[in-house]
Amino acid sequence: MSHQHEGDQLQKSKPESKAKSGIKYWVDPRELSHDPSRPVPAVGEFASAPTAENADASDGHSRREFLQIMGASLAMVGASACARRPIEKIVPYLKKPEEVTPGIANWYASTCGECDSGCGILVKSREGRPIKFEGNPHHPTNQGGLCARGQASVLNLYDPDRARTALEVGRKGGDASVTWEALDAKVLAKLQTIRANGGKVRVLTGEVSSPSTNKLIAEFLAGFSGGKRVVYEPMGADEVAVASELSYGTRVVPHYHFDKADIVVSFGADFLGTWLSPVEFSKGYSKKRKVGVNAVKAHGKTMSRFVAFESIMTLTGTNADDRFRLKSGDEHKAAMALAYELIVAQGHSRFAGDSAVKAALVPYSPASIAQQLDIPAEVFKKTAQELWENRGRGIVVGGGQSVKGDAGVALEVAVNLLNSALENDGATIDGTGSPATDRSSYADLTKLIEDMKAGQVDALLIYKSNPLFTLPKSLGFEEAAAKVGLVLAFASSVDETVTAADYLCTTPHHTEAWGDASPYIGVHSIQQPTIAPLYQTRGLEDSLMTWAKQLKLAGAITAQPNWHEYLKNNWKETVYREAGGSTPFPLFWESILREGFSGTGKSAGSARSFSAGGLKAVPSPAWNKDKLTLALYPKISQLDGRVANNSWLQELPDPVTKITWDNYASISAARAARLGVEEGDVVKVTSAQGSIEVPAHVQPGMHDESVAVALGYGRRNAGRVGTGIGTDAFPLAAKGTRALAMSGLIVTVEKTGKRYQLAATQHHNNIEGRTAVVKEATLKEYKHDSKAGNESEGEPASMWERHSYPGYRWGMAIDLNSCTGCSACVIGCQSENNIPTVGKKMVLDSKEMHWLRIDRYYSGEKVEDPDTMHQPMLCQHCENAPCETVCPVLATMHDHEGLNQQVYNRCVGTRYCANNCPYKVRRFNWFTFTDEDSVPAPLNLAYNPDLTVRTRGVMEKCTFCFQRIREVKDRAKDTGSLVHDGELKTACQQSCPTDAIIFGNINDKNSRVSQIAADARGFTVLEELNTRPSITYLTKIRNNET
């Protein structure tokens, strides 16, 4: 065991993990190189030396000073212990609200407002405070799952850096509070003049999936002779909409049904991570990936197949059965090569005789371009065959952030051709199922900037958009904005754009306001306030209504007294009517507030007719052979940087790189060797637009001629957490004709000689080369033998007497075949269990506190093309728990329900338990991460009052959400029954978008968890240690051998 290594000391390459099946697992490319001069850094579990960054005591206290301070405070604590306890007050309600019972949570159905996917959420509210967001299990979009950002959204509500009143910014970043009355008077004076003079008003927003808000904005703008709405979303799917217009004549983003797809081919689309509606897609995708006992009926031993072609290693790519590396910018060519193979070479589909299509495809025959693409021609042949065999039951997707720009439009057109040829359009892809309006448009944006520059815009209202950060300088938005008479920013805090506005019209958080969403046709979702606004905020809608009334505009905007009534009325006129209107509206409305949504989302859809004209309209980008190309991409945790001030998300390890608190330039190992760059070397990435300096990260699976840098970092004005974290990569983006070019950009990368420490968790808590941590098999092997890859030497002999579990015994099953690594569970756990964030320096010291981590393993001999495995790792609640036997004060105990309990107030912090835990899942509070400095008010309101907030010196770990068990048992006792199967869900299980985690009573042989755990694929981690964990993992099955 090599735990006591100093933080930056290096250890020679560990013995490689080798599972029984002969698959070699590794976490770092250096493990494969066997080069003693490039060792893998070993970060011990108890790294205690100061990190290089703070060794110079730049943070204020040297180590010695710190010890002195600690000594003094200890003495103070000793003295105060004898004093009488402090007086605490009980303040009752003046008049208790009927629905509030202290100690009992209320749940409200609402809609997540973090992005425009429109996932249904359930807001858990305690004593009037929202404390946790969970996916609404009945909502057709997300079906119970909720992504990491959605769950972390509760922290944004209590963000101490939110603006508390409207502000007079005066274009100079001013922060003088103004009352709404004063602001209204000033704004109205200007708006009246503009209206009288027929001036031009523009509303620039991000994508807003609320039909009512969109309608209201339109009504407001209708009151001005020159009113126009511009929608621009930096992470939006412009290219899908533009290509849809070119191919099918309608500007829509279709609704994808991954739950109907037996084969999925993706060209760079990160549909499980960041593209469009990842939770919905993960749900659908995973339904087709379940095998064995876990399978949906009629599946058994079949599963869908997923082939990915991508330039950067996305979360989605790590889940592919077969993944092929593409150079950023070549996605279109690969898609065309596949289309050539399908339509021309194999002569399939109704386009086989279409000369226009053929002509467009001819330059892309795999035989001629395979070498340039660096992908064997057989791959296209085989994929085309498989797609054709599964026509109407497959999905081809492409695009997303990593293929952004004109190349993205070209790619989407090719993808449309493929889907139409394969008859997927209308079957698995519903082009009629998405609201046609208000999608992001780059063309509108560039027109707006031109107009602004020409002094043609008199008032600009900016909502859910941060153009001063998300647009490259070359677009000149800032200079253009200076020429606009009145700039109003609608945001919740002072961001980059606000500093250039006249006023900040401070908006509330989505749990403080009414709203709605219609992610696609047939689903309407309501957003209801669950807490009175914390500050003097007013939503965009109420502001517009107030002004409209004063301006005496026409329509519902002035007829309705306020936004709530407007929304209700809009629902009455649209959703209620659609629903048939058989029940009286008040009852219907009440049911909507209870359920959270209306509609099933089960639209039939029909095939659209593909026009080959689009194929010619968008030229393919040129080959950039031998030149490095850049792909700018969003991380799951940050997207475009809108949530930069959320510490949970900053500290969430990236699912692929496992790096926290930073962005970096990902390059392949071969490229790194050629550049002479090591992990952590700062490199200068220069595009035609500008250059940035970022640390390099050597990423397996990257194309040798591509570089990837995450967007959303380097915020200049995000707040105390997010400002200055990482490097802003937006300046590298370039203008395009149909979209902002964010990928395929030609760049150079140079070494600067500087070094930078990246806080990656992938080397922490490693299991020291022990075997059989993860297991896998191919589908072929699995069909032949259900136990394939899961060979076991049988139960080891034991010197322990078995425990008895007479009542319940709690256990968990985790299906590695379903887990995509999306990390929603990590944040779900953090929110449920009051887990602190510790900051980058502490992560560098392996002091992160996540109870649940997702280990990512690579396998295969080739560093450039690894197979990837994600494994959620949490306390295994062992029957023979090694931690329990070494605790000198019995602070960790086994209970009669199989739980390994941790009693915080008894723990004295010896850390023996963590040392003895083979799974490395125990977390020690080296400092008080929960004091008022670390968790400034009102962030403390987000705590779950059902469990202790731990302080320094205490060990903690996963409890299987004991407070949730207690709550459900309490409810069962009220009715005198036992806890029913499925009634009890842990926080991680609840949040999982792929239902990979199942929890329940394993004493009940009929419970779902027992049945799944009994599957032939079931294994326990480190079985040979005879710890007898309560968590059973199911082997991963790869469908890559047909």
């Binding site: 212990a81 004898c82 306890r85 007086i87 605490e88 007050k89 009980i90 303040v91 009752p92 309600y93 003046l94 008049k95 208790k96 019972t101 202290p102 100690g103 009992i104 008895s804 007479p806 009542g807 105990m893 209970d895 009669h896 329900e897 739980l899 309990q901 009693v903 915080y904 107030n905 008894r906 059902d946 469990l947 202790t948 907030v949 409890t959 004991f962 407070q963 207690r966 309490d970 006792k973 009220d974």
Partner: protein
């Protein structure tokens, strides 16, 4: 003589410091053992609310005011409108009731009572489960009906809880009520009457 007095001197030299040391140690130990023990705590409240008058003389049931005791883990202190249910007509001339009315009607501020029965934050005590089992309020709170100033009667420390759960100090009426003598399925040890698993009480 000299040797005797020397002897007694020696004895004194040993005994006196020994006694002093023992006394100090005893006092220290006593203090340590009672850290966090607030038995007998009876602070002065913002108004001299008397349980003796309300619960005793007037026989108002506990749950009229502490209405959530059967629903929640918190018994809850009544909101001010519950006080006003009666006191809008009862004893309106009392200076304290006047004070109450000023707070309720004009200032719109509730009283700030001083908490008497307080468990540490790492302890989860569920009133509902105990009351629904039939545990009398007096088992932990003492005979409140006789207290004009509310006072912490029991130690409310871990031993106090465990003694009852284990069946050591359990009142007889409870023993009869709880007919489960050592039910391992619920974590109740042989001879005990309620679970004693760590996380039964600890968060």
């Amino acid at each position: 003589m000299t040797s005797d007095s020397e002897n007694s001197n020696t004895m004194l030299k040993i005994l006196v410091p020994l006694i002093v040391v023992l006394l100090i140690a005893g006092a220290g130990l006593n203090t340590l053992l009672n850290v966090g023990n607030n038995q007998g705590y009876a602070p002065v409240q913002p108004i001299p609310f008397s349980h003796k008058i309300h619960a005793g003389a007037n026989n108002i049931p506990c749950m009229y005011c502490h209405s959530n005791v059967e629903k929640s883990k918190h018994a809850t202190i009544p909101s001010m409108n519950v006080c006003m249910n009666c006191h809008s007509v009862v004893k309106p001339d009392s200076p304290y009731i006047k004070q109450l009315k000023v707070l309720y009607n004009e200032k719109k501020e509730p009283f700030q009572w001083i908490q008497v029965h307080k468990l540490p934050d790492f302890v989860n005590f569920n009133h509902k489960r105990h009351v629904l089992k039939g545990v009398d309020c007096t088992a932990c709170h003492g005979d409140v009906k006789k207290m004009s100033v509310i006072r912490q009667e029991k130690t409310l420390n871990m031993g106090f809880c465990l003694d009852c759960h284990r069946g050591v100090s359990t009142p007889d009426y409870l023993r009869h009520l709880v007919q489960q003598n050592g039910n391992p399925a619920t974590g109740v040890p042989p001879g005990g009457i309620a679970p004693i698993s760590c996380n039964t009480c600890h968060n």
